[in-house]
Symmetry: C2
Subunit: 360 residues, 2 copies
Amino acid sequence: MAVLARARRIRETPFTTRVLAAGVSAWSVYNRMLLPAAFGAVEDDYRHLKTAVQIWDVSVERQVELRGPDAARLVQMLTPRDLSRLKPGRCLYAPVVDPAGGMLNDPVILQLAPDRLWLSVADGDVMLWAKGLAHGAGLDVAVSEPDINPVAVQGPLADDLMARVFTAAPGLKFFGWDWFDFGAQRVIVARSGYSKQGGFEIYCPGPLGPALWDALIEAGRGLDVRVGCPNLIERIEGGLLSYGNDMTPDDTPFDCGLGRYCDGAACVGAAALASADPPVRQIRSLAVGGPAVPPCTAPWPLMAGDVRVGQVTSIAFSPDFGVNVALGMVAASHWAAGTALTVSAPDQPRPAEVRAGSFL
Amino acid sequence: MAVLARARRIRETPFTTRVLAAGVSAWSVYNRMLLPAAFGAVEDDYRHLKTAVQIWDVSVERQVELRGPDAARLVQMLTPRDLSRLKPGRCLYAPVVDPAGGMLNDPVILQLAPDRLWLSVADGDVMLWAKGLAHGAGLDVAVSEPDINPVAVQGPLADDLMARVFTAAPGLKFFGWDWFDFGAQRVIVARSGYSKQGGFEIYCPGPLGPALWDALIEAGRGLDVRVGCPNLIERIEGGLLSYGNDMTPDDTPFDCGLGRYCDGAACVGAAALASADPPVRQIRSLAVGGPAVPPCTAPWPLMAGDVRVGQVTSIAFSPDFGVNVALGMVAASHWAAGTALTVSAPDQPRPAEVRAGSFL
C-alpha cells in the first residue's frame, strides 16, 4: 500500500493536526482536501461507530455559497428537485445534474436567507459549474467557497455528547438545523451525517476549528468518544451512496434511485430527465459471497451467465452480516430482489444476490 | 505516513497496473485520478531523471475537449492569451482565469481542428467551468473529457527512446506536436513535459494504453529506462509552477509571472486583469538554508524581520545544489534578487535568499 504524498495542493483542514495526533492510518482525497479514511483497522472503527460516538473531520464537504438577488434562481437551475419549500432551519438533499441529466453531485442545501444558500457538496466541482452558469447567463449572484468546515458527531451516543456542548441540539429533528452558541460565536448545527447511527454535523468556521474540536473530545470523556471517519462498511450496509463511487455523470438521478427528488423543476437537465424515467437500470444493495473482498478500485462486472447486467462499485466485508455487502448498478431485467448473479471480482468470481433494500 | 485509501472515486488510469508493477511507493491524487509520486527515494528518481530516460503516467493531465462552431469563441473566453495564432501542430500554454482574474488553471492548448480543441489541464475542474459558461451563454459547443491519457517520456535519452517507437518524433520542435502511427492507430505526440530534462508527451487513447506503455519500456532496454513521475526536486529547480501548490484562484497571472501570456484578450477576467498589472507580488525562486526540509503541506510564511512579505509553497532539498530549493510568492518590496529573508518552516526558522531566476 503506497502512502499519500502530501502537498499544499491537497489541502489541510482546520482539524488536520488533531487527526494526525489521533493516528490517522489512511487518507482519502476529496474535493482536493484531506479526508481521513481509517484510524487502524476499519473493522474496529466500524464496531466503535455502532456502539459509542465518533468525531469526524468532514471538512471536505465544502460549502458552495450562492449569494445575491439571483441565488434562488441559480440553485433551481442546478437541480430537478422543486426547491420552493426551501427555508431556513431545514436541510434539503438534492441531486445536481448537467444538461444531459447526468449526476454532477448530491449536496445537502441550506437556505441561510432567501438570497444566501449553502450547498454542502460531495466530491465534485459544483462551485465552478455554478459560477460558469451564473457568469454565462449574466445572473446577479456571487458563487464562493466560504471557510466552513463540517465536523460530524456520529454514533448512538451522539445526542449525549452534543448535549454537553450545544445544550439544545438534541431537540433538532432529522435534517433540521439551527444556530447555536459556541463561546462568543454562533455556528450552524444540523441533525445529519453520513452514517445510519444518528448524529449531527457542525458547520465550523475555520478559525474556530481547534477549539471546537477539543471541546467535543473533552465532552466525550466517559462516552468512549473516538476520532473516526465515514466508515466504508457501515455506509454500504446503510445504502448510503457515494458520489464518484456509486454515481457519476453517466448516471441520471433515476438510475441512482433518486427519482423522488425529481419534481420536473426547470433545471438545466429538465428536458433530458423527462425522457430518462422510468430508468432501465438502478442502484441496488447486494450480498456477495466468498471470503472478504479486496478493495474495489474500479467497477466489477455483474454477470448473469455470460451477459453483463451491471457492476458493483462499493463493497466491503461486513462483520455483522457475515457477508460482503455491496452497492451496484443493475439492469431492470435483473434487479428484482432475490435475483442470483455473479460478480467478476479481480480475485475470483463470487455469487451475488440482489436485495430489496439496504442492510440497515 | 498514512497510506492512500483506494476507491473508484479516485480513478485508475490505463497504466495503473504497470505503475503498481513498477513498485509505486507514493501516490498523489490529481483531477480525482491516481498520479504516481515516488518509486522509492525521490532523490534516486531525481538522479535517474537527469541522466537517463523515464516513462511517466500523467493521465491526470485530463483533456477538456471543446467541439463545435463556438469552440474558438469559448476558449478565448477562458484565457487572456490571444489565441488567434492557435493552429494544428503547435501547443500553446495559457492561463485560465475567473471573472476576478484569479488563476483557475494553466493548461496547454492543442487545436486539432478549428472547431475542436483540447485543453490539457492541471489539477482543477476546467471542464465544469467551461461547460457552465457555455450553457449559461447559450454557446453551440460540446464540452467533454475524452479518454485520452498522456504518457510522458522525459530525460536526456528521451529522443533516443522515442526514435525507436515513433521514428520521426525527434524532429518535433519544442511545443510542436503531430500525429504519429502506432500500429494501426494514430496518436498525438508533442515535444513537451513537466521537467527541464527534455522529452515528449504522448496523448494516448485508453484502450491503447497497455500496448503503448509496454512498447516504450521495451524500446528503453539498453537506455536504462525506468518508470518515473514528475519529480518534486527537479521541477522546483527548473522553476516549473504547480497549479494548486504555487498558484491558486487568489493569484492573478501577473502574480504568477505569467504576464507575458496576458494579451488583453476579451476573456471573462479581462476587466479585472486590466487593473492587476503591475503586480505587487510575484512568484520567485528561493534558496533556503538549513538541513533538508520536511514536506511543505501548507504555505510557510516568508518574513522580513517581523513582517510577513510572502510565503513558500513548494520546497525540497536539492542534492545537486546542496541547498533547499523553493518557489514562493514574494512582495514587490522584497523580490529583488539577493534579498535575504527568513522562512518560518514548521521545524525551525531558516535563512532564504531570493534568486534572479530558476536553478536550472
